[in-house]
Symmetry: D2
């Protein structure tokens, strides 16, 4: 379905710049380590990763819904940030997530794609992948409200 | 993201069988013509098409949200039907749709993919594509509740 | 939960004005009769009604998902229309609907409430009620993108 | 809209029992303190509370989306737990959340209502309320998959 994605999107920040920015404006995201981080930025999308440990588990010893939601939400934020620049005040207005399979502790990736980058709204999807066979454990779509351009922080 | 789709899905009905079954059990879908129909069935997914006419438009002369919702919903139904057989009583329990661009009258395709085919639930996504450049006009994810197997109608 | 609704909303159109406007700008909504219509407008909300007939049914002889989606979507449109005035170009950007019980043909009401009326977005919920005992058959939440004020059609 | 809620629901656990159970099976929920907890259980619903501190904030010094999502998700879990008993393996299958206003650090309540309690699925909504004037900061609807009854843990 990639043919239907917006064709003319170009990142304006590298993955290193994104992670440095996240650490600066959102220190609460990773309390001690770098559990949530961007690992790739590309035209029209990004990949974010959670290295899930004990504190991300829920009853049943699987990664909790809130931890997967956070990964999807960060994925949308990194999509917006990397494509429009340092807009710390971009905010989620809607996020819908389906949980499909259990994920164990370890690396969990969010493969994110911008579905629309409009003037005031960005719509994205995130496929959450985990395990040795790359199982699709969750899928999210969401909307970010974008600040008026030209008012970049930093 | 196709690598993460369920790998072992096999359709049990052809597109012709699907359309014949829809016409039989759901005659209300197409009042006069065959506006909504399946055009492809494949392992783990399907393509459905709406040939949108005047009666599918809303203010602004664009295809209405309900018409696009119907296409996504039919896409989920065809995914379920073609992969588990003639289960007319499979019902939608949740559908979330994002509308992203305007679509004019004409052919509109729903490219649908099964994200999970479980024992009692099927989760799917539908990318709604329209126009000469194949723009992504809407995107939906939804859940169908599946009847106990072996109680097929038909 | 009504205490948490926006407190300062005032309708600017009556239910008669809303229905006349719908008939004018959205004639496709009701092909022959007045199946979908507003029956009440109040501060912060509205009630819309579908008189469901044969053509709104799906396999199993229950009111179809698309018919209930349409009712919820119309409910959001009437919320926007009645509270900001004749803005025919307000468009749905997201709608999420849960289907919970079967509904038979007859009157089905959408009790709608504005959750937020912002500058560019309106968020609403619709409780879809049917049958002699007023069962909750579906529940939807959605977002409408609002046009810049002062550019009213009409 | 309360008239449309299921009328025959009766809690089988008290709020103290719910909190004790959460602490036992889900110790990761509250790392140091009791930030997320149930404060009321009633027929067909519950109230859950987050006492949001520094670690729940995001850029802009407002309570983060993931913290509000967690509150809504816990609200659904408490609804299920309190009405069907100690079913630690009830799992979220879908959650849709709309973020509407900013919330500052402090007490944030999730007023939760069961929309349907079926044999295999529970659908609920959560109105997230915060601040001195009880503003509606977010609204969520979600689905929990319920385990077969009679296989209670504990």
């Amino acid at each position: 379905m990639d043919a239907s994605a917006p064709a003319d999107l170009t990142p304006v920040m590298s993955v290193e710049e994104v992670n440095a920015y996240l650490a600066e404006v959102y220190p609460q995201l990773n309390e001690d380590h770098t559990e949530y981080r961007a690992i790739a930025v590309r035209p029209g999308g990004c990949t974010v990763r959670l290295t899930a440990g004990e504190r991300h588990l829920r009853p049943g010893n699987t990664v909790s819904g809130p931890a997967l939601f956070t990964l999807a939400d960060i994925g949308g934020y990194v999509c917006a940030l990397s494509h429009i620049g340092r807009e710390a005040l971009a905010v989620t207005t809607n996020l819908n997530i389906n949980f499909m399979r259990k994920a164990e502790a370890g690396n969990i990736d969010g493969e994110c794609r911008i579905l629309k980058l409009g003037r005031t709204l960005m719509v994205f999807e995130a496929a959450i992948i985990a395990g040795p066979d790359g199982a699709l454990v969750a899928h999210a779509t969401g909307t970010y409200s974008l600040p008026p351009r030209g008012q970049n922080v930093g």
